[in-house]
């Protein structure tokens, strides 16, 4: 093969590797914004780290004294492997590792160093085939054209069409193809050509498989169902957990039902806890049923008199996630790591049967009664069991769906609590991501009227609490049947009402 053809092919590969290099940087920046939020900071620090790592690579290139072609091919294969897998790896490990940033910046640094090696090595390979001024001019021209192409392709084609994980596998494969093409052209300069070829081919196959199966990796099929970007998705024996992130909004979905949005969850959780808990004198023992995200526990811990919080949630995956994952721990302010909190992974209904402890306040925060299994947790039988866990002056708050969308459902919970022997005080508020939302405060005895709210609340105040207990006529009480195990009226109301609701 002529030197001329080699020259053009090598310059072509400059173009490809430049595109790839910038794509990895963009993928890392975008991923960091998705996963960690605050995109300006993420992009800025990722770009800085990446450029600095490239500088390290360029510097290190001088220590490569011989076999530039071999090293170049090795570097290409490595960039293809690490860069290609980076997005998938970061997605998968996001929930697994305690400090995601360490992993993120390590990956970015490694790719940066390798990419930093590419251009200096290519310059040295091409140096005998071109004049110096030609060499510099042409290499950098192709480099910048590649960068332009990458920066246009990324937002316009790759993210919308392929998504991050597939794009990263695709460009990893391109890097490896460059390595294999170079190997073919410059075989005579390369030691161990066959083993490099074998390694390159194998990694290429792996990346193609990754591209093909990335659906499974990120549950791509679900992506259309969620407005935002999925950063974590897992099926446990109990439910499908999906976390999404967009701009500064982190959302948790269980079985495709929104559990909270980080933008306004404080409204929901402050309203769930404080209107009841702040009316008790010196509450000590608090039970939280459901609510494995620890957000209700965070509110409960604002009362210094509370010394003992028991959180009962079915799914250990949820409580572990919210006790260990950096971003989620920040959201619940480390509530699940507090020495005052004991986490129990059990079915609330069966746990109550065995429980002998009594509590001053109970937060009942189950998912909406959208099926017969969940409907059991809103029955007279359930409240009869809950009764045995309450002190005489105790109160509890129950989340009970939207009194505007599902008026019968809401008042059905109220009726169920009343026939179970409780006094009820229904209330509601507006949670932007949910809409108009309702709770019911229940107790054996009338509760004191005075509120002793903790400092620093963002939504609940004496004035806002007063408003919450007022129901306008379109959400007011309505005649309904109580929900029993043997009639599951609530699930039937709920299905009918939400089926009629057009978003």
């Amino acid at each position: 093969m002529s030197d001329r053809r080699i020259k053009y092919l090598l310059l072509g590969s400059v173009f490809v590797i430049a595109t790839c290099g910038l794509i990895y940087e963009l993928i890392a920046g975008t991923l960091a914004s998705y996963l960690l939020g605050d995109s300006v900071t993420q992009f800025s620090t990722i770009i800085g780290t990446y450029l600095f790592a490239m500088g390290i690579g360029s510097y290190l290139s001088k220590f490569i004294a011989r076999h530039e072609v071999t090293v170049f091919i090795q570097v290409e294969i490595l960039v293809g492997l690490i860069g290609g897998c980076s997005a998938g790896l970061l997605f998968v490990l996001f929930a697994e590792v305690h400090s995601f940033r360490v992993l993120l910046y390590s990956v970015v640094t490694i790719i940066g160093v390798l990419v930093g090696l590419e251009i200096p090595l290519l310059l040295r390979i091409l140096k005998d085939r071109l004049e110096f001024k030609e060499l510099v001019s042409q290499v950098f021209t192709f480099d910048y054209i590649g960068a332009l192409l990458a920066s246009l392709l990324f937002p316009l084609v790759l993210v919308p069409r392929l998504g991050l994980v597939r794009s990263s596998f695709l460009f990893g494969a391109l890097n490896v193809l460059v390595a294999l093409a170079t190997l073919r052209l410059l075989k005579r300069f390369v030691g161990r050509a066959r083993s490099l070829q074998a390694a390159g081919s194998m990694i290429l196959v792996g990346l193609i498989l990754g591209f093909a199966f990335s659906d499974r990796l990120t549950a791509w099929a679900e992506k259309s169902a969620y407005v935002d970007n999925i950063i974590f998705a897992r099926s446990t024996p109990y439910q499908r957990i999906v976390l999404t992130r967009d701009a500064n909004d982190l959302r948790l979905y269980l079985n495709a039902n929104l559990q909270f949005s980080s933008r306004d969850e404080y409204r929901y959780h402050e309203a769930l806890v404080h209107p009841g808990l702040a009316r008790l004198a010196e509450p000590r023992d608090v039970l939280v049923l459901g609510g494995g995200d620890g957000l209700a526990v965070r509110e409960v811990l604002k009362y210094p008199s509370v010394t003992n919080v028991v959180l009962v949630d079915l799914d250990p995956e949820i409580t572990t996630l919210f006790a260990t994952q950096e971003l989620l721990v920040r959201l619940n302010e480390g509530a699940l790591r507090s020495p005052r909190v004991r986490v129990v992974n059990a079915d609330a209904f069966t746990w109550l049967q065995a429980n002998t402890n009594r509590f001053d306040f109970v937060v009942v925060d189950f998912p909406d009664p959208s099926n017969f299994s969940l409907g059991k947790l809103y029955t007279t039988a359930f409240y009869a069991r809950l009764q045995t866990a309450l002190r005489p002056h105790a109160a509890f708050a129950v989340q009970c769906t939207s009194p505007w969308v599902a008026r019968k459902s809401f008042w059905c919970v109220d009726e169920t609590l009343r026939v179970s022997g409780f006094r009820t005080e229904p209330y509601h508020l507006y949670v932007p991501s949910f809409g108009e939302w309702g709770f019911i405060l229940a107790s054996f005895e009338p509760l004191p009227q005075s509120l002793k709210l903790p400092d620093g609340l963002k939504f609940v105040s004496e004035a806002s609490t007063r408003d919450m207990f007022h129901f306008p006529p379109d959400m007011g009480p309505i005649k309904v049947e109580p929900n029993r195990l043997n009639n599951q009226m609530l699930v039937r109301y709920f299905e009918a009402e939400w089926a009629n609701y057009v978003h």
């Binding site: 083993s195 194998m202 024996p237 609330a348 059991k376 029955t379 029993r484 195990l485 043997n486 599951q488």
Partner: protein
């Protein structure tokens, strides 16, 4: 040169390894689903019940003569619901000198249950409807056992909510999907709908109907029913004839539904059971409750095994299992009871003041000497049944309505299945046990019994799984264990003429100090009949022994 040769060799090796490795991986990937599917089809199990050896030895008279004689107050033969009820009644009335002799290795009769690592489950009877107005004894029992916990201001009973069958109760697989309820609703023609409406309207009318004697037309226990010929005449025709008389027979969906109900309660369809029994199924229950609908039932994971536990708890040590009574005869004012104890392979004789016979009538006819010698065989027809318990590693998938307690497949030879974990309060049960019921009513009972005994375990599995696969294509992969129980003489069949005929009236007459208590005496094998007979027999015997 040497170096280059070496590197070529290594490269060749790695290339070969790569090719081989790739081939192996691709091969495995292709084979994996097949391998895993093959291996998952294997499940454990066998034919666990219906061991008739002891019963047949009794029939064939191969038992040793009694080695010892002992005196006892009352012997109760049979530890099913009627025997345990009689024993409980004696115990409650302070008469504690009794023993219960049970043929099987545990008490329960048709109410026995099993248990595995997933759940308890029934082996036959699995629910009791909430009590109707005439069901006096069972109402008292419900109150004593806490099934009824109190009464509301209107005096209606408040049932224990965790015992009431949880919603959703029933569903039917028809037209390729599950619908709620067992009465077919999907794809009915206007004519079929009209027939359904007309049938149910008549059943509602009969529910409140009373005869000239002021009694309800159809009551539970059935002996509380009106003697009025207007209703009793229905006992002379089959349920199929009754449907024809009323112009309901040609509506296929209603005919199927009524046939299903008869098979469910009596082990035989509309062309075999009497119309009186058939209508009794629909028109006898008039229960009211503060916290449940009139058609509610109480049930537990172990089915009526719950009652077995509750009934026997106070006097469990009085129950002797694996004991086959092979002769009963009067001796002066006493009754001699000879039985074979399979545990130590010895026969014993008990000299009792009285006996409650709480076993089936066809055995009484062989064992009780005066009956054998003096009374005509009442010719009770017994329905054979097959019951299977399937342990699943996940809930079965299916289209339409969610999993219910009772799940029926339209036009199936089986009656479908009940879900043992349905009453669990656990929100999301992950594994479950299904109890699958099939009356063996395609042939005459004797032929059906022969066929059932000769069928292999694998043939049963094939029958059961292919039936369930209609509604659950994945069922074969879900099953981890499948056990089969064959009931040769599961229940008396209310054939025309039996319920209001002379033979049944005679069966109820005591034979000296031997009194009878068994649902055979009613011809309907339901809990309320068995329980009431047990209580009545105990009371009658105590009255005979000390008529104060």
């Amino acid at each position: 040169m040497k170096r280059s040769a070496k590197s070529t060799a290594r490269a060749t090796l790695s290339r070969r390894a790569f090719v081989a490795g790739t081939a192996a991986t691709v091969g495995l990937l292709c084979a994996a689903p097949y391998i895993s599917k093959r291996s998952r089809r294997r499940f454990t199990g066998g034919i666990v019940g219906g061991n008739s050896t002891l019963g047949h030895a009794l029939r064939d008279g191969q038992l040793p003569p009694p080695a010892q004689t002992a005196d006892v107050g009352i012997v109760i033969v049979g530890g099913g619901i009627s025997g345990l009820s009689a024993a409980r009644q004696l115990w409650r009335r302070g008469f504690k000198d009794f023993v219960v002799l049970e043929l099987e290795n545990r008490p329960g009769g048709n109410a026995i249950s099993g248990r595995n690592e997933v759940s308890a489950f029934p082996w036959a009877a699995h629910y009791v409807p909430i009590a109707s107005s005439d069901t006096v004894e069972v109402t008292k029992l419900f109150e004593e056992l806490g099934v009824i916990r109190g009464h509301d201001d209107a005096g209606r009973p408040i049932y224990h909510e965790e015992y009431l069958c949880a919603d959703p109760m029933e569903r039917l697989f028809t037209h390729g999907r599950w619908q709620e309820g067992i009465v077919p609703q999907v794809g009915l023609s206007a004519a079929e709908q009209e027939v359904q409406d007309s049938f149910f309207a008549e059943m509602r009318r009969l529910k409140d109907a009373r005869g000239k004697d002021g009694r309800r037309a159809f009551a539970i226990p059935l002996d509380a029913s009106s003697q009025d010929e207007e209703f009793r005449r229905l006992d002379k025709i089959t349920m199929a004839d009754y449907l024809r008389e009323n112009g309901w027979f040609d509506a296929a969906t209603l005919r199927w539904y009524v046939d299903y109900c008869c098979r469910d309660d009596y082990g035989a369809g509309i062309d075999k059971v009497s119309a009186w029994a058939g209508v009794h199924y629909f028109a006898s229950r008039n229960a009211v409750a503060a916290n449940a609908a009139g058609d509610a039932v109480v049930t537990w994971p172990e089915g009526n095994g719950w009652f077995v536990e509750q009934l026997q708890a106070p006097f469990a040590s009085h129950i002797h299992n694996s004991c086959a009574v092979w002769n009963i005869e009067p001796e002066g004012p006493r009754v001699l009871v000879d039985y074979y104890d399979a545990a130590n392979k010895q026969s014993y004789r008990l000299r009792a003041q009285g006996v409650v016979w709480a076993g089936p009538q066809f055995v009484a006819q062989r064992v009780i000497r005066p009956l054998r010698e003096q009374r005509a065989n009442p010719g009770v027809v017994y329905s054979p049944w097959m019951v299977a318990n399937l342990t699943l590693d996940a809930l079965p998938a299916g289209r339409g309505m969610d999993l219910a307690w009772d799940n029926v497949i339209y036009d199936s030879p089986s009656l479908g299945y009940v879900v043992a974990t349905h009453q669990n309060l656990q929100t999301v049960p992950r594994r479950t046990v299904l109890t699958y019921y099939q009356p063996l009513d395609e042939d005459e009972p004797a032929v059906a019994r022969q066929k059932a005994w000769s069928r292999s375990y694998h043939e049963w599995c094939e029958m059961i799984l292919s039936d369930l696969a209609k509604a659950h294509p994945d069922i074969g992969d879900r099953v981890t264990n499948l056990d089969v129980w064959l009931w040769g003489h599961a229940m008396a069949r209310p054939v025309p003429g039996f319920i209001w005929g002379a033979a049944r009236a005679e069966m109820r007459q005591p034979c000296g100090n031997v009194v009878f208590a068994h649902s055979d005496l009613s011809g309907l094998s339901i809990f309320e009949e068995a329980y009431t007979h047990g209580v009545r027999a105990a009371d009658a015997l105590l009255h005979t022994l000390s008529p104060t």
